[in-house]
């Protein structure tokens, strides 16, 4: 697995000049992803920020083949491309090794694209699915998704006089993918580039389906200054809200165990979407999220212990 210094020598396969906002970590994730995956990669992306900012006709930011089909079918689309490759390869019409990567945001993955993703994973296509999770429908104007944390103020779950942001916990998407019993499932974030790119390389080397859920902060939706994106990505990890871990053929490995496990309020602080939670009356919501994080972190460590031989 090359070090970030070596990876930085690779050609950048996502050009500059695209229309993403300053501080957009989904786009940082794309660059890291392709530095690891390389030129011989077919990328598919669901409708969403990444697709919109990179492919405004007649321009494209992609130096690899790229396909956008619709919102809910990135996994099905790439499974078709992979089937075409398998067929043409069997017929001797193509020889080289090609990586297949499908992507979607949290809306396109946790919600509208979940069926398509589940089907593609079950069928066992040799593909990697990347969810770039910025925890709301940012492209359409910051509406809540199944991946939005409890308590978050969004356009459709505002902090009002009666209701204080999203009332539900997020859907445990990574767990759902682990339950598919596919060869490789992981969580990552561009805040820890080597961890992410190592996982991409591992996932692409495996014969079969793989999934990486990538937490990718969004300054517009999370409401913090754009230069703080990396910091918020790392805080999510160091509060154990977003543990970095991988499950390879059922064996859990926690990639980063923070020396000091920070309280989740440290990650909330400074994000406009959580501002209302710091009112005295809403303290209970932070406590609930903290309890949820603690329970899941303990269960993750336990599973690592149980599955590491």
């Amino acid at each position: 697995m090359p070090a970030p210094k070596q990876l930085a020598q690779h050609e950048d396969l996502v050009t500059g000049g695209h229309r993403a906002c300053a501080g957009c970590l989904p786009m940082t994730a794309m660059r890291q992803l392709l530095l690891a995956a390389g030129q011989d990669t077919v990328v598919g992306c669901a409708t969403g920020c990444v697709e919109v900012v990179t492919t405004i006709y007649p321009y494209t930011a992609w130096k690899t083949p790229f396909i956008h089909n619709a919102f809910e079918n990135s996994a099905a689309t790439i499974s078709g491309a992979e089937a075409a490759y398998t067929s043409l390869r069997k017929q001797g019409k193509i020889d080289k090794k090609i990586n297949f990567i499908a992507m979607g945001g949290d809306g396109g993955t946790y919600d509208i694209g979940l069926q398509s993703l589940s089907g593609a994973m079950e069928r066992g296509h040799n593909m990697l699915y990347i969810c770039y999770d910025n925890q709301a429908y940012m492209n359409t104007g910051i509406q809540r998704s199944g991946g939005t944390p409890k308590g978050t103020a969004t356009s459709t779950t505002p902090a009002g006089k009666v209701i204080q942001g999203k009332t539900q916990f997020p859907k445990p998407l990574t767990e759902i993918l682990i339950a598919h019993d596919i060869p490789f499932v992981a969580q990552a974030t561009p805040g820890y580039p080597k961890d992410f790119t190592d996982k991409v390389e591992k996932a692409l080397a495996i014969d079969g389906p793989a999934f990486i859920n990538v937490l990718a902060p969004c300054p517009r939706g999370w409401r913090y200054p754009p230069e703080q994106s990396m910091e918020y990505a790392r805080l999510a990890v160091n509060t154990c809200f977003w543990p970095l871990f991988e499950v390879e053929y059922g064996v859990f490995k926690v990639n980063r165990k923070p020396k000091e496990k920070l309280p989740v309020s440290k990650w909330f602080e400074g994000q406009g979407r959580f501002r209302h939670l710091f009112k005295e009356a809403n303290k209970g919501i932070i406590d609930e999220v903290q309890a949820d994080v603690d329970r899941k972190w303990a269960w993750l460590l336990k599973r690592e212990e149980l599955t590491q031989a």
Binding site: F66, N73, A83, G119
Partner: protein, 393 residues
């Protein structure tokens, strides 16, 4: 050398698919299309075809995977019916807009609700404006022939549009008929090798498929698509001629059955045309000047052939097997009115709605249509004066 086979409509489509041997076939089960895919799955399981079969979790994914595979340069087929077609509608439109020459047999079935598994044309008429070419088939022979021709039509560089080959659920799909098929070598030479202009798999010349296309280019791309559909008319005709040379069976945009001197003409699509031909034969034997104008290609719509086929008609009965709610008549009726508009042809046109949800249409029904046409000739019929065939109460 023709091979004489005894097959259902579904098996006839599967037989054509076996001979075409596409690179990728995507599929999700829905009645009455299921047996088509069962048959094709047998061919895959027995190693008779090289196709990669992607057995997806919904029709939406069937069309989505078809788009992915076709964008990767594969020759791709799928098949569906009714609600399956409705579920894939979003991607049906995208497949045509991305100019992907996918071929899809659609076994016509009534759309829910209420849920019903039998034939009408609400499914394919519901997506007549998606940009797909639509070929309607009268019997198992035409199913087989249309599927083989569809490949050549779709992949023609002047067209590059997907094609639906439609046939009536159960009436054709599950009825055993005798048909003539090409030899395998003839069929594979006929379809030839498919070479896509751009593919996802060409990583050395990477291209972006399905980009965001805004106010400054979307309209021009739609204009090009209109052009492709317009070109399809000549291509369908020339492919039909070439296929006639190969098989001895002629195909055009329409079939004019005894219309040249006909006073009374019925216009229909699909299996009903077979029923109507029997009635035309009977009534011709009685000395009545009746005829049938069968529409094979509904998209592109054959305006010129329609006008020519109806030239002598004093009264025309247009048979619609689907409803266009709130419109004056059914989808076929509206097209006939539009085709004759401005031609100066004075004729009485009656719209008949029939066969919804698989309601049977008999020889007597068609005869009664011709008899009614005799009484309306010369009269002005309001476009919204729709009559119902075989409706109780």
């Amino acid at each position: 050398m023709a091979r004489r086979l005894t097959l259902t409509g579904n098996d006839a489509a599967a037989e054509a698919m076996r001979q075409i041997d596409p690179d990728v076939v995507t599929c999700f089960p829905i009645t009455p299309q299921t047996e088509l895919m069962h048959k094709f799955a047998d061919f895959v399981a027995d190693g008779e075809v090289k196709a990669e079969m992607v057995l997806v979790e919904s029709e939406h994914s069937a069309m989505s995977a078809a788009v992915g595979a076709a964008s990767a340069g594969a020759r791709v087929m799928t098949a569906t019916s009714a609600n399956g077609l409705a579920l894939m509608w979003e991607i049906v439109y995208i497949a045509a807009s991305n100019r992907l020459p996918i071929v899809m047999p659609v076994v016509n079935r009534a759309l829910s609700g209420p849920i019903n598994i039998h034939c009408d044309h609400s499914d394919t008429m519901g997506c007549r404006d998606t940009g797909w070419i639509q070929l309607y088939s009268e019997n198992a022979q035409e199913v087989y022939d249309n599927v083989l021709q569809a490949i050549r039509i779709a992949e023609n560089p002047d067209v590059l549009l997907p094609v639906m080959v439609t046939f009536d659920g159960f009436i054709i799909s599950h009825t055993v008929e005798v048909l003539d098929a090409l030899e395998d070598k003839e069929a594979s030479d006929w379809v030839g090798e498919y070479k896509a202009m751009y593919t996802l798999l060409d990583t050395e010349k990477p291209a972006t498929f399905g980009p965001l296309d805004l106010q400054d280019y979307y309209f021009e791309h739609k204009r090009q698509q209109i052009e492709g559909m317009s070109n399809a008319t000549e291509v369908i005709k020339s492919v039909g001629k070439a296929y006639e040379k190969l098989s001895g069976r002629a195909y055009g945009m329409t079939e004019r059955y005894m219309t040249d001197d006909a006073d009374y003409v019925v216009v229909a699509l699909g299996s009903t045309c077979g029923t109507a031909k029997v009635v035309v034969d009977e009534m011709r034997a009685e000395g009545k000047r009746v005829g049938l104008l069968k529409i094979r290609s509904f998209r592109p719509f054959p305006h010129a052939e329609i006008v020519a086929g109806l030239a002598s008609a004093k009264a025309i009965g247009v048979l619609d097997r689907s409803v266009s709610f709130g419109a004056p008549g059914g989808p076929v009726h509206k097209e006939i009115l539009a085709a004759l508009s401005g031609t100066g042809h004075q004729t009485s046109i009656v719209n008949y709605l029939y066969g919804l949800g698989g309601r049977d249409i008999s020889l007597d029904h068609i005869r009664s249509v011709f008899e009614e046409l005799e009484t309306v000739a010369g009269k002005t019929i309001a476009p919204n004066e729709v009559r119902f065939i075989g409706l109780r109460g």
